[in-house]
Every structure is written in structure tokens, then in C-alpha cells.
Amino acid sequence: MAAVTGSLTPEALGELLRDARENAKLTQAAAAQALNVARTTLVAIEQGQRRARLEELQKLAALYRVSLNVLLRQGSARVDLRPRFRRAGEGDAEVEEAVALLNSLVQAELELENLLGIKRARNDPPERPLLPGNVLLQAEQDASELRQWLGLGMAPVHDMVSLLEGQLGARVFVRPLPARISGLYAFDEVAGACILLNAAHPRDRRAQTGAHETAHFISTRRAPDALHADSPEASREERYANAFARCFLTPARAVAARFQDVTAGAARLTRRHVIILAHAFGVSREAMVRRLEELGLTKPGTWDWFKDHGGITDEQAREVLGDAIPPDQAKTDAARHVSMRLSLMASEAWRRGLLSEGQLARLLHIDRVEAREMIDEFEAEGAVDDESPILLA
């Protein structure tokens, strides 16, 4: 046991075992039964008062669906976002699965960064906790302030994911999720802001979700958020986040100016106008029309009118925009077993002998053959040989 407790105290090991059990949603009684010991024995193990034998550790690891290596390896930052969501009352099974996915992606990215010595730049924006009074007004002010802080002025945000990653230093993952889940947000002191967006949703909807989660980053930083079909819309936090997203992606002044240009000389708002405006701001047609309604640029009920008269279809958008619609690269990346960014880091860690094939497969939740295919992809396309240019920094 000396190897386990060398730099890991029995108490720390017990705590790891307890966390793993809770993540596996097992009671102490169930775990004790699987181990064929009394519940008090399991409690003693989790409190570091009784030494767990190897056989018991292996049984517990198998029961909790983790490897002992994952549980016992040291030196890498451990992040567990799951308890935060549990405490926030997110008990929905699909949301829990998405939270587990976000957690595993963040953990893998952190571990790979640590192994490779990558220092990720953080640029957390100033916090703006919710104040008493009208949250919609505060959302508008805060969105405007963030735009100024980022130096965006009134310019449209065409790539919300890049903005979050590049300018705000957030960890953003775009992976397929059930249709009813739009995204997740959580903050960790070590990992920073962590956001998961649904790759199955259209890019403009993902942008809105990204802006919504940015609002939580600004206002309720340490509270996790799961945005899904059943999310409560009436809370002040959610009303703030929705309003913030609208104001951030479609600032009033910029929308009014663009509206004036696009509709110049027209007597009615047409589908073409909506398509062009939505494309200009990178938001959905519905979001665009509702924003026009909110800003008094068109009559309330305009979107409902379009909806009742056949809506505004993707086909119509393609007719208007043609080649101006760029390919959705995030969707392509999400179709991979592992995102390009994680694949690159994981392959490099394997190439340097920092991770074994088994560790790599476990870290990325893929099987051995998938791990080998991922490594081969980079060996084939990005093989480092003696003739490859040397990196300067």
C-alpha cells in the first residue's frame, strides 16, 4: 500500500473512492454489498481509517467504472464538474450524461496540457453579478460593456466559439448532444470557464447558446448552467442570460443601422430582408425577427405571421445567400471520435511516451483500435521527421 499512499494519504484515497462511488451513483450500502463487506467497513475505507486490499480496490474500480490508474495517478489537476450540477438540482438523465461528457473532455484537455507543459492563457472578463432592479437593462449594459472590453464595437460576431476560446480563454467543446439540450456551462478555478455546445444544432443556434452561457460567465460565474428544453425561463438569471445573448449578438444600434440599409426603399419586411439580416449577425431567422420586434423595428407578432405563412426555410436562405453560407466545420469536427484539438495533443503525448495506449484510450473514452487510428492519422498527415521545420517557440 506504500505505493498508493506514498504521496496520497489514506484519507485522500478514501475521498477519491467516495467521489468515484458518488459519480457512479451508488450508495455505500450497494458498494459494500458488491465488496461483500459491512457498510461500516466501506465507510472506514472512504474515511481512510481502513486499508483497502488490492482485490477490493480493483473490485471498487470496476464497480465505479473507472480504472485504478485514473483514480491513483498523481500530478495532474483533477476537475470534477459533476457535483456542481448535482447540487444545482440537474437530475435529468440526458443532462447528466452531457455533464459527464463535458467533465471528461475538460479533464482530458487539462491532463494533456499538463503532460505537454502547455500553459493556457486565461482572460476571464470582469464579473457583473446580478443587481436588484430590471435584469433586462442590466443585460443590455453588460453586453455592451463586454463588447467594448473585447474591442468589438458594433461589429457582428461571426464565430462565437472562437471568440470564447481565443479572446475569453474559455474551454469550448462542440459535440453531439440530444436535440433538447443546447449547452452547458461550468466554471472551475483551475480549468476556467467550460462550455459544451450541441453540434447537432445549427451554427446560429449554437452561437446563441454560446452567448447565453457567456452571460452566466459574466453574471453567475460559479453557478453551473444547463440550457435545455425544460430549463426554467422565468428566473432572473435565465431572463438575464437570454437578454444578454440577444444584446451581445444583435446590439440595438447595429441592428437598427443594418436594418435601415437592408430595407432601404422597401415598404414591407420580406423573407429576403430577414435572411440577409440574420446572416449578417450570425443568428437564426427567428431570433432576428424577434429582435426586430423587441427593438420596435417591426410589429409585434411578425415572426408568428411568417410562421403561419410557411416560415422562412433553409432552401430560401440558400437561394438568397448562395455561396455566402460557409461550411460548418464544428459539425465536421464533432463527427470525429475525438476533436481535432484533443487528438493533436493526445497523439503528441503518446509519441513522447507520456501516455500509454491504454491510458490514452481510457482518457479519451475510445477503444484501443480507435486510439491507434487516431495516432496513425497524425503519423500519416503530420509525421515529424528530420526534415520537418523546427518550431521557434
Binding site: A3, L8, L54, S67, N69, G75, S356, Q359, R372, D376
Partner: protein
């Protein structure tokens, strides 16, 4: 860690890691290979558990290994309390100095029982070389190119086994065997094996003739 040329001399049993069983099953002729091999082969319960998790993705390795255990060609083994220290030493510690459970269990069992280890994993092999220099650590390729297998299979059949292990399971080939494997495969098949180093795939013909 030993890599003798006559590495099978004196080796009566070997314990294989999941990485090796994946390759052997991918050949499509695992049973014939095992029947031709003079040493007893084993798998740890830990490595078997790792293969089992592949069933959900439609992988066949676990089912085939289970069948081979059933017919007595593979022995399933568990770690004993005397293997504990080595196993924990291999799974606990800094990430860069540890291995996954299956790999660690394979090495711990091999050390504890005085058998050789079959592992197709560079980090595990290097780690054994540093910490357990006396341990015999071999790869799937060592096994497939061992005299008893070479003499039991036609060259074309052996080439097919290697090709399938390389293309279906993306088997890794130790550097010392690259020339031999490429020669058995021939230049056309070599080019199709993406787990072979790019330099060998691309210039295999010139290497063979040069």
C-alpha cells in the same frame, strides 16, 4: 528486459496484454496460431475486462478470447497478493510514469509468476526496460515471426495474418521487425498499412531493393 533472438528458449508461458489479443484476433487465425505456439498463453482478468468493454462497440476480441479460454488455449489469470506492490507501483504515481490497469496487471503478473510478457505498447516496453530489465517483454510481431509459427504457416498465410493485424487492428511493429514484416507483406500491401511508419510505407520498395 530481454529481447533475445532465440527468445522462446526456456519460455514456457507468456501473459498477453489487451493490445496483443486485439492483434491476434484481428489475424482471423488466432486459434491456429495458439495451437502452433509451444508456450502457454494467459490473459489477466484485468486485461480481459478491458476487452469486454469493447463489446458495446461491436468489437469481436472479447468474444473470441472468451472462446479460446473455453477451449483451453488461453488461461485467465488473476493477480495474487504478492503482485500487489508491482501493480500499484505501475498504476499509482505521475501519469507519465504509470500505465493503465490492464498493462500494469500484465507486467505485475509476468514478474510475479516468472513468465514473459507480451505487450505491444512502447511506453510499457520502455518502462519495463528501465524498471525490470530481467523481464522478457515481447510483441505480437515477435510471436507471429517466432520459428514455430513461421514453420507452421505458409508464407502467404503469414503475410495475410500480418496484413489483417496491421489493417484491422492497426498493430504496431517494433523497429527491429520492420524490414522482415515489409518483406513478407510486399510493397503493395505495405502501402495500405497505415500503422507502419510513413517512411516504411512510402519507400518500402526502395528499402527492399536497396
Amino acid at each position: 528486459m530481454s529481447h533475445q533472438s532465440s527468445w522462446l528458449d526456456g519460455v514456457t508461458s507468456l501473459v498477453g496484454d489487451a493490445s496483443v489479443w486485439i492483434n491476434l484476433v484481428a489475424t482471423g487465425r488466432a486459434e491456429e496460431i495458439l495451437r502452433s505456439f509451444p508456450a502457454e498463453l494467459a490473459i489477466t482478468t484485468t486485461a480481459l475486462g478491458e476487452l469486454e468493454s469493447g463489446r458495446t462497440k461491436g468489437r469481436q476480441t472479447a468474444a473470441e478470447v472468451a472462446r479460446l479460454i473455453e477451449v483451453g488455449l488461453i488461461r485467465e489469470v488473476s493477480l495474487s497478493s504478492t503482485d500487489e506492490a508491482v501493480f500499484l507501483d505501475l498504476v499509482a504515481g505521475p501519469t507519465s510514469l504509470t500505465l493503465d490497469d490492464g498493462e500494469a496487471a500484465t507486467i505485475a503478473y509476468a514478474l510475479g509468476s516468472g513468465t514473459g510478457a507480451l505487450i505491444d505498447e512502447r511506453k510499457a516496453t520502455d518502462l519495463c526496460g528501465d524498471r525490470y530489465p530481467a523481464l522478457i517483454v515481447m510483441s505480437t510481431t515477435d510471436l507471429l515471426l517466432a520459428d514455430p509459427i513461421v514453420s507452421s504457416f505458409q508464407a502467404d498465410d503469414l503475410s495475410e495474418c500480418l496484413f489483417l493485424a496491421l489493417t484491422v487492428a492497426r498493430m504496431r511493429v517494433p523497429e527491429r521487425h520492420l524490414a522482415g514484416v515489409c518483406e513478407l507483406l510486399g510493397p503493395d500491401r505495405c502501402r495500405e498499412c497505415r500503422s507502419l511508419p510513413a517512411a516504411w510505407r512510402q519507400s518500402e520498395a526502395s528499402r527492399l531493393t536497396g
